[in-house]
């Protein structure tokens, strides 16, 4: 669990014990990123892993997952996300 800040951006990373890393970028001053990453981990387990068409290590293309993430972002920062690739809380990347 690490957080770096600089250049108008916060970068927060969470590594699970299975080796999966979740990285989130956000506007400076955003709080609760650690909790958000944990919730994303739950969404990953519930949506992506249970999708029978998802293969491990591959890019995530699960409709349920993206919808759930959008809902989560909306709850955290209502109206703040102006687009998937822009806005306050930015993209989420999963690495192994």
């Amino acid at each position: 669990q690490e957080q770096e800040e600089g250049d108008g951006l916060i970068l927060c990373c969470f590594q699970t014990r299975t080796g999966v890393k979740f990285v989130i970028t956000a506007k400076p001053g955003t709080r609760g990123l650690k909790k958000t990453l944990r919730e994303i981990y739950v969404l990953y387990a519930d949506c992506t892993l249970k999708d029978p068409f998802y293969e491990l290590e591959m890019p995530i293309r699960c409709e349920l997952f993206t919808q759930a993430i959008d809902d989560l972002m909306e709850r955290i920062d209502p109206g703040g996300v102006s687009g998937r690739n822009g806005g306050g809380n930015d993209g989420i990347v999963k690495l192994r």
Partner: protein
């Protein structure tokens, strides 16, 4: 983490998990095994392998679900400091939160442990047939054509139903889950209530600890 904390964690998580109907679960699994028997033409060893493989795919996913639910529900299990600790987590949290089963850990050594499963939800309606005899019985009662095809040499294939590890999927699940946390283990069903033993026993042996699996491009220069 102490034993009582682990047990309490198992109870907490079990409370938070969505529940499914036990009978439906048992019957669905039973249909899966029956289909495997048909697909693999009564090759018991192959069926056991397939159940293990299916369990493996489930296990690699289950562990992330377990760990993520722990994080979010404030259950802190911490990294395991011994193989016994791992065994306790598998038995008291893993089996408890996904299946509601009570399991005991016994015969712990540095590299192995046994899990005793007292009630097995998968096999609540199951009896294994007597060994020997032909394959699946057809409605008309005759098995000759089937037997000839299976036997090859013209005789009816003798089926050793006692070799079928009905709940072998558990072994796969444990193996898959532990591999995701860098422990390579081998699991097998040592004793099975369906075969006449008094308890279900799964023996787990640690083969090796794997190195952290970061890809080459992520390693420091």
């Amino acid at each position: 983490m102490s034993k009582s904390n682990i047990t309490a964690a198992g109870h907490t998580l079990w409370g938070k998990m969505p529940k499914a109907n036990t009978e439906l679960f048992a019957l669905t699994y039973g249909s899966l095994v029956t289909e495997l028997i048909k697909d693999y033409d009564n090759d018991i060893d192959e069926i056991n392998k397939q159940l293990d493989r299916i369990g493996y795919s489930i296990g690699v996913r289950c562990i992330d679900e377990l760990l993520s639910k722990c994080e979010v529900n404030g259950v802190d299990i911490g990294p395991c400091n011994s193989f016994q600790n791992t065994a306790e987590v598998v038995a008291k949290i893993g089996f408890r939160c996904f299946l509601g089963m009570t399991c005991d850990v016994t015969n712990v050594t540095e590299n192995s442990f046994s899990l005793f499963l007292y009630e097995n939800p998968l096999s609540i309606f199951v009896e294994l047939p007597e060994s020997g005899g032909g394959g699946l019985n057809d409605d008309d009662g005759g098995v000759d054509d089937f037997g000839a095809a299976a036997g090859g040499s013209g005789g009816i294939k003798r089926l050793e139903w006692s070799k079928l590890k009905y709940s072998n999927i558990y072994c796969g699940v444990i193996r898959g889950a532990l591999e995701q946390v860098n422990m390579k283990v081998s699991c097998n069903f040592a004793r099975d209530v369906l075969r006449g033993d008094d308890v279900n026993e799964i023996k787990v042996e640690l083969k090796e600890m794997l190195a952290e699996g970061a890809g080459e491009e992520y390693q420091d220069e």
